[in-house]
Subunit: 334 residues, 3 copies
Amino acid sequence: MTVVLNDLAKHVNGRVIGDAQCEINGVGTLEGAQFGQIAFLANPKYRKHLKNTNASAVIIKEADKQNCPVNAIVVDDPYVAYAVIAACLNPIAPCIPGIHPSAVISDLAKIHALAWIGPQCVVEDNAIIGAGAIIGPGCLIGKHSTVGEGSRLDAHVTIWHDTQIGKRTLIHPGVVIGSDGFGIAKQKNHEWIKVPQLGRVCIGDDVEIGANTTIDRGALDDTVIMSGVKIDNLVQIGHNAYIGEHTAIAACTAIAGSAKIGKNCKIAGAVGIAGHLKIADNVTITAMSMVNKSIIEPGVYSSGTLLEKNNTWRKNAVRIKQLDIIARKVIKQE
Amino acid sequence: MTVVLNDLAKHVNGRVIGDAQCEINGVGTLEGAQFGQIAFLANPKYRKHLKNTNASAVIIKEADKQNCPVNAIVVDDPYVAYAVIAACLNPIAPCIPGIHPSAVISDLAKIHALAWIGPQCVVEDNAIIGAGAIIGPGCLIGKHSTVGEGSRLDAHVTIWHDTQIGKRTLIHPGVVIGSDGFGIAKQKNHEWIKVPQLGRVCIGDDVEIGANTTIDRGALDDTVIMSGVKIDNLVQIGHNAYIGEHTAIAACTAIAGSAKIGKNCKIAGAVGIAGHLKIADNVTITAMSMVNKSIIEPGVYSSGTLLEKNNTWRKNAVRIKQLDIIARKVIKQE
Amino acid sequence: MTVVLNDLAKHVNGRVIGDAQCEINGVGTLEGAQFGQIAFLANPKYRKHLKNTNASAVIIKEADKQNCPVNAIVVDDPYVAYAVIAACLNPIAPCIPGIHPSAVISDLAKIHALAWIGPQCVVEDNAIIGAGAIIGPGCLIGKHSTVGEGSRLDAHVTIWHDTQIGKRTLIHPGVVIGSDGFGIAKQKNHEWIKVPQLGRVCIGDDVEIGANTTIDRGALDDTVIMSGVKIDNLVQIGHNAYIGEHTAIAACTAIAGSAKIGKNCKIAGAVGIAGHLKIADNVTITAMSMVNKSIIEPGVYSSGTLLEKNNTWRKNAVRIKQLDIIARKVIKQE
């Protein structure tokens, strides 16, 4: 799609510097963009590429306009503006309604006339699929589950029974939602007995869930993912967890059962969050941290140790095991 | 299903306090349960909710009976009793035998007349499916694999060739069993050569395997999961690992090849266990621990560092890299 | 398949000691091998089993020949030689070309006459499948994606649109390639806006990708996995990552976006690698390490703490939070 620079600028409340009628047909990086493409400068790491860019225009902050050798759109937040402009230049194909003949659809399912059900899908009894929803190849929509208007399940997604999915939610391939939580009780004879998992998973609007992520159904009450939450790949969310609005969770993070996470949190990759604790709103947790008690104040939290050459790491790691003794010596010496 | 309190109590060898004929039709939490439901008090964190519960009855320990405002079943272990009662009130739908017409079944497969094969499944040559087994939508049962009596594969499960699965085993969506182990050998020219993975995966009875977990086949001998083992979501089990009876493994744990783990162990989430080592029976490993040598005694083991505010973490993390030097100074000062 | 020892030795440039005409029909471990099988001794941990082996022959180094009680093939690298011989004795079934009638194939897809498309597959518009490629049950090949000659996708693999896969690449069940990267931008109102993910995933020749691993498409440029890379199960590779030739990555490792990893690296399991950094060639990273800055020199790198009994770990973990203060005291005392 081709759009003139001025029209793109209007979409993002930006100010054009240079040729407002310049035609833009795509996006690119500062380094890779070609004639006709628009790039952006958000991360200062890449500022060095601005002066040599071949882009036809660049989305920049006010502070960078002096150094921009080409047309520009000046905005407060170039990354957000880039997201809007990239979506504008690369519109998602609209939903072409229908049901692929290879899909297996229960007579009791309610599929909106404007939804699409792809090949090799299974839609079970009493499932409800909203208008404009796209159920990609090989997905399963279990009994009594609902997929809201305009939501998209890319492929091979498993929505187990009684799951609620809101509107405009995007679920990537291989995701499993509504599998049993890990509820087991130890009997006297050492054998585990399964605790029935009777709750549901309820997912809000405008949520995104990354590939092969798993979200367990509640044991009694529901597991809840509020609207605007963004979840990356291979994340585990245990039974009865609650994730507040607009919280983002990066890949490979594990959230144990009954953890309650606030709004607007940023949880980096490979973090572990223990069960039955609370995390306040506006908390940031850095990568690979272990969260084993509640966090009551907003802020940035971390754990873990820094990378070292293996030979020095070995020496220091052994000393950590002696640290309480070392500390007592230091205190005594005082 | 509705059951009178007295009958539920008999199932769990419990003693009724209050109205033994009270009708119970479901389970709930102390906080959320309504009239007709039974709740339980196991975790002392939730004791505060006992006095205001709207449940018709509560499963409690002897010590809590004074403070229970409603009917009660008194037992030694309320959580185990709850598991039994919840299963009793929420029976799993029985297997309705048959083969969905969309399933692709080899003529050489042996499927018991009392098994169910769901839509979009594939069952390959010489696979054997036992009585009462439920193979949910989109599962693959590879060549020469066996699924025992009463086992259930929920959906999109991949059972690769020559895999043995016992009786009453429950496998959640997206699980992959029998994929090749990570066997590669470095050649002089720096290229890796694949080491053929010729063993199998053998899984016992009453095992549970969580969503998107992967269990690799053995390189030469088999990977073995003994009866009663419970595995959560997104767990990785490498080739030739051995997991002893009734061991439980929480989500996102990675177990490397040829690790031998004992009976009745409790392995928390996101633990890493190195290859070619042994862990004794009755070992507990706390979350996110790194196990890089054998554990020969029962007990509780841990590694990792505690969460801090990011600014103090940074200072302390730098000091860890100096710790051997600091320790030497302390020793010298003595 | 049965091969005489002498012929096996020729395959690996080895020297036979003993009966060169001895017939070998399979492989086994030193402990488990039976008459007719060949074993190998590579890991010194298993040397103790050499003297009692029932194998008909053993692949060994020169140094072990004195202690070998049976026929032997002497080579420089017994593990590499074993890999070659095991493959020779256990040839992979050849591709029997065809398209299973249950597969859903676009009229616009180009499938080579010598490829196999298994049951329940979906091949979308303009996908290209090369000669000898095997697309196992339940796979999806998205629009404009290419699978090269002789590549094999075992089962339930999702190849999302515009993905390039080279020759002889092996992809295990449940893998997702080409899902959107985790690109989101925070707006002033705290809501995230999705950043369109417009790049591709390009995978070279002779790559192996383990079960349930996820590889995200690039945001603008491509995510690149070079030839000869070997990736284990449940690995996450973020958008625009680059993995150099012959690098091996063990299970549960997470590689964030735009990380550039060199050639011939060995990355152990459950490692976390932050985004926008570079790792040199020939770097080894030990298990569960956190890599949060670039590594410019070859070598072995580590982070993390060692396993302890939980009661001592608790004491030491608390002291880590005081470490900067302790260190200052030590320096002051000097």
